[in-house]
Structures are given as structure tokens and as C-alpha cells.
Amino acid sequence: MQVTGTVLTTRRVDAYHALTVVAPGIAERYRPGHFVSVAVGGAHTSMITRRALTVHDVKPDYGGTVELVFTVRGPGTAWLAERRARDTLDLVGPLGRPFPLPRDPVHCVLVGAEYGSAVLFPVADALMERGCRVDFLLGGASADRVFGAMRARRMAETTTLTTEDGSLGLRGKVADALPSVIADTRADAVYACGPMETLRAVTAVAIEFDIPVQVAVEESMACGIGVCMTCVIPVIGDDGATRMVRACAEGPVFRGERVRFEDVGTIPFDALGAPGGGARHAG
């Protein structure tokens, strides 16, 4: 659904911006892993595509609020960073398929890189409600880009932090630290969100340990609602066939081992409908 929300608060969290928006309809339907798309630039803007942002937090205040955490990348996120309390924001959501949750009280490692960590907190809440043990592994390029370390420490059994420059926690990337975290916590499952490269490495580790991994991917999106076909990645289906599936509608959450990370940005030759079939020259 589409909601004109009102910005309640804005804050800086280290390198990130956080916006809390009153959006009752979206908050009510939200499940961990959902994202929203935000119109940027105001009424007569030249920016015609919405920006996809995951929801970090949902609260019941004022009928329901959602919190978005983002980094400034280009003009759209720069505009968002300038929003102030009482400004209005046009949101569509909740979108995408949320994280599936285990039936049994298992041990879960939640792996987040950069702002990808934001989506893991509602996941952690939902897992803990089911009696799961939750451990966090969060990373970023530098200390100010590791999101949510404090909150993770308060919630989780253990929290491991990594930075590429060594300014906080272990030096390196989250995937480097993951084997020992899985071993120490005897994890049964991994939940991950971050750049594609991180998800690829995290998935490889989970496969090594033979435990399931759920990843939330990020791919350039024009619509977020499944109509434009611009956000596709190669994913292996239940029947073993690879299809170019929409990250917005079939995802953004996928089973990691089903995503052909090495082939993202290509059409694998064995994908359904890949060039070589009958109509390869059309359009």
C-alpha cells in the first residue's frame, strides 16, 4: 500500500542516517525482512524512481512507525538525509518476501555488513520470541560503519564485530570471522544481509558447515513491486532449473545456496530462456 507518512524523528547513527516515519498501514503489515520504497525529491522532482530501503524497526507509537537506516550514496539518499521532523514522505510497502523463521528454538547467527545490519534486529526479536538463541556478527569498512553494535550486545548471546581497517573488533570481513562464530555458537542457521560479495562469502561458509543460510540481497530496482523486471538475479528453483527472478517480488530474501552469486550480473547459459533459445534476437 501507499502511505504518505510524516517524519517523526531524524538522527545520525555513526556514518548512517535514521528516519522514523509514522506509517500505520505499513507498520501493521510488516514482517522482518520487508522493505519499503520511498519517493525522493519532492513533488516536481526529476528523480522518477523510488528508493528501496529495508525497515530497521517498527514501533506502535502514533498508530505505527517504521525506522529506516541509510547511507548517502547519490542524489536520492542525499535528499532523504535532509528530511526533518514533520516533513512528509511517500512510502510504498511493505514489499518483498520476509525472512522465514524456524519452527524450533534453534541457534541462529545473524550476519550483517554495513547498513545491511539494520534489518537483522527485527529478525532477532522474532527469533528470540520463538526461543531461538541469537548471536550477532556485524562488520563494516571502519568502526563508524558497523551498525547496531551496542544494541546487538544488549540482545544477543554473543556479538562479534569486524572492521576492514581494524578500528573496531577483528580486522577483516564478516565472512572471515564467520567460521569461528558458527563453531563457537554451534549455530544451526545463518541469516545475512549486506553487499552481494559479502553474501556470497557468507553463503560459502554456511555451505561448508552444512547449515541453512537465508540472505537478503540488494539489486538495482526501478519499481520494487515486481512490474519492471529490472532487478533480476539468477536463482536455482526447487526443480533444479536456474531462472532470472525478481529480487523485489520473489526476494529480497532467498536461501543463500540457491543464489548463483558468481553469475550475478550475467545470464548464465543454462538459465531458463537464456540466449540460445528460439527468440534470442528479439527486442
Binding site: M1, Q2, A39, S46, M47, I48, T49, R50, V92, E219, S220, M221, A222, C223, I225, G226, V227, C228, M229, T230, C231, V232, I233, R243, M244, A249, V264, G265, T266, I267, A271, L272, G273, A274, P275, G277, G278, A279, R280, H281, A282, G283
Partner: protein
Amino acid sequence: MAVDMRTFLAHVELANPITTAAGCAASGRELAQFFDLHRLGALATRSITMAPRAGRPTPRMAETPSGMLNAVGLQGPGIDAFLERELPWLAQRGIRTIVSIGGGTVAEYSELARRLADAPGVTALEVNLSCPNIEDRGRVFAREGSAAAEVIASVRSIMRYDVPVVAKLAPDVADIVAVARACVDAGADALSMINNPLGMAIDTEALRPSLAAVTGGLSGPAVLPIAVRCVWQVHAALPGVPLIGVGGVMTGADAFQLILAGACAVGVGTALFHDPYACLRIERELEDLLQTRGFQRLADAVGLAHRPPGSAPRHLLVDSEESSP
């Protein structure tokens, strides 16, 4: 008094002139989550091809000033899956459906028409001519009046007489009127314009083209003036031919421009990416505009901007008594 928004695509009546643009509403189900598809004048499908197509590599889209580039490459399920799953879903609900087809040869277009000829639920057939012709060094059918005409003549001879065949034209051609005329002479019952003009963007950080396919189709408000120009020129030359105006329509006023230029229906594409309810909003805005300008019927506005200079401006009814609500 409410404005009579009915319009005709050849002999087929649509309850209102607003349709989705081909390739911008996926299978229909996606938009149905937001609103009742019966409220559309018609839903246009993506361009259906013979075989399933995986499309182009990503990135497939880049935002550009007041527009975007796309290089989806007609990703879709192929005609078998379309006839099995997508068309019946629309037909069972009685949703007016313009089925778009795309092919690489005349034979392929013809085969698609044959497969669709007896399928229930095809309100009109739109032929996407912006596809490269395999048999002519990949030259796009729409760029060549004779190639476009060959496709249209074949498809027209196969489709049932009561299903209008619509030729969808590309704007980046030397003479769009010549292509339009060739299609009409070949039997097209209506024309749709414009498909995406070709564009390109370069990522100044990566120092490479922004799209994996290098070039892509430009859409959104940036192309509206091109669409208005094309509709204007073709309506001037072929005033009796029904036109679907497509390209950059974001508001009722944009749709009104295309109608005044000569379109009797209006397709909405990229606007849907921004606003899933765009078609309904645009329809409402258009109706309001017509009403405040004193029109009782949409049909009276079609092509009105062509009236000769110096002719009296249309007398508005706004201050006459009969128009007071």
C-alpha cells in the same frame, strides 16, 4: 455531469482511455494487489515471445533526468506459459487485455498470432515492432516501413477479424508517418506510439556504461514531448486511425496533451513504477480536466489541438447554467 470517458479502439469499446503500457505491468497480478484491474481501460501485457526469455544481464536500469533507461530484453515466460497461466488468469476475471507480441522474424510474429487467434480473452493484439529483424542484420522492424508492413499484413491475415491489430511504433525513425502509413495500408486497425527511444548513460565513477547492455530504452517524462510530436504528426496524416498515445505520461494533463494531439487512448508505463495507482489517478485527473474545460465526452477532445489557427477557441460551458453541478 460526469464526462463520458468511453473510447473505441477500432470497433472495440473501452470504458476509459487509460491502459497500462506494454512491459510495464508484468502479468497483471502484481498490480492487482493494489487496485481492481477492471478499473483500467485495458491492461497491456509484456511483449510475449515464442520461447521463454531470460532477458539481458543486470544492471538493467539507470535513472536519468526525468526518466530512466531500461534494457530488460523482453524477459518473459514464452507463449506456452503465457497461454497456460497468464492469459487465463486475466480472461477469467474479464479484464480487458491488449496482448503484445514480439519476434525476430515475420514467421515468428505469425506463429504468435496463430497461437493467440483462438485464445479467449484477447481484446486487441499489439505488435511490438521495436524488435531486431534476424533476417535483416538485426535492423529493427519499426525503422523500416516495408518490414513493419510485412509483419502487420501477416498478423492481420491470421488474427480473427473482430480482434483489432495494433502496430506499436518506435520514435527514432526518419519518418514516422511513412512507417505508420505502411502499417495502416498493411491492415493495422490502430497504432500505438511511442516505444522507447534508444539512449545511453555512462557511470562517471566506474567509467563505464551504466547498463550492462550499454544502450537502453528511454522512458518517463523525458520522452513525453517526443510522444506528443509523433501522435500529432501521425494524426495529422491519418486522422481516421485510432491512436494509443504512450510515453512519459505521469498526470492527467500529460494524457490530455496526447488526446488533444490525436490519441483516443493513453498508455501509462514508467509512472507505474513510481505510483502503482498511477492509471487510476491519471484517469481521474483527466476526467476532471475534461470536465472543467466543458467537455461532455472524451471523444470530443481527440485531436482537437489540430483545429486551424484562428478558428474560435472552443467555447467553454463553465459559465453557462447547464454545467452547474
